[in-house]
Symmetry: C2
Subunit: 188 residues, 2 copies
Amino acid sequence: MIEQLRNIAVFTALSDGSLYEFAKHIEYVKHQKGTIIIRADKIEPHFYVLERGIARAYSDGENQQITFWFGQSGNVLFSFNSYINNQPGYENIELLEDSILMRMRLSNLFLLYDKHLEIANWGRKIAEQELIATERRLIDRAFKGAAERYQEFVAQSPELIKRVALKHIASYLGVTQVTLSRIRAAYK
Amino acid sequence: MIEQLRNIAVFTALSDGSLYEFAKHIEYVKHQKGTIIIRADKIEPHFYVLERGIARAYSDGENQQITFWFGQSGNVLFSFNSYINNQPGYENIELLEDSILMRMRLSNLFLLYDKHLEIANWGRKIAEQELIATERRLIDRAFKGAAERYQEFVAQSPELIKRVALKHIASYLGVTQVTLSRIRAAYK
DNA sequence: CTCATTTTTTAACATTTGTAAAATGTTGTC
DNA sequence: GACAACATTTTACAAATGTTAAAAAATGAG
């Protein structure tokens, strides 16, 4: 089990001791494509790690739905508002493919944070990396046009382009699907 | 000194023991309005806490400069890219008023992260709260028009509206200054 | 107070992106 | 392979925002 965890991107830097602590509380679950594993209107008691599959986090508005995050194999899936503020959040997480996930109760994670220095720093680094990535996206929206953002997305996330519906990618890039279609048409 | 630290928003939740660890390494500095305390092209060896004043983080582009964060009294000022990746970053931090700051070497902070569980979790929570705030802003850009974003900013940050130049607020909201002027004119 | 500098507003026009709806293409199931 | 469901593209038009430049207002130094 510990060897299995070490192969997952988000756990690679951890010591055996920490992996052992995780292993005690982790269980595997499988879900089909289309499953919404985290719902905005509920407090989600688990966090997940995607072992195989693709996920998206999205938020529902009146007439639209916007995707603001993609998760690939090895990424952690949190409902940040459940996780951080213990309140129902603004985010749903949907599996875009049949997936294998590990999950663990947040209550157990919090106990680990309060006992294990290495795990507390592991959680810190995850939040920091997400923060940098999100901040950059916010800045890119100002500096780069929609076409450039699309091209960089293609270059940086070739897997996602292949496997994710364009309507999700459009809202991730901050444009409508029509605009994304126009951008793509210009490069044919 | 410990009492002094406890009065600062970002430190209030910490125990005396942790405050003592911070106190050992903290020094006070004063800077004038206009000082750029963190520069994008340099690795910044300190982090700062703003005791009095207002700061903005901004990024330089070819023909523009966009402000993506405001700091008020009690907030922490990081160059996240220096802090997280030990590389020059994309962010400058400028003081918008004459300010009093505390600072501490990042190398000392990292030592504390590796020794003190409470401080590691303190760092984790700071990153998590910033992450939620940034993610919400990204989502708001999709769901809310520029006028609504402005009105909410006024409601939530009355101090900043009074004390910060509108050109900075415009880019923070993701519009040009001309657009912000039009929005303001519509509510007269 | 006055002048120079900077900030904010206004105007005219251009461009981008959005909206709605129809047409086309794709996928999966029986 | 035919159908239904869903995804993507296209078209025509509307709305929002950007660009540039100039005018007006506010700020700050001497």
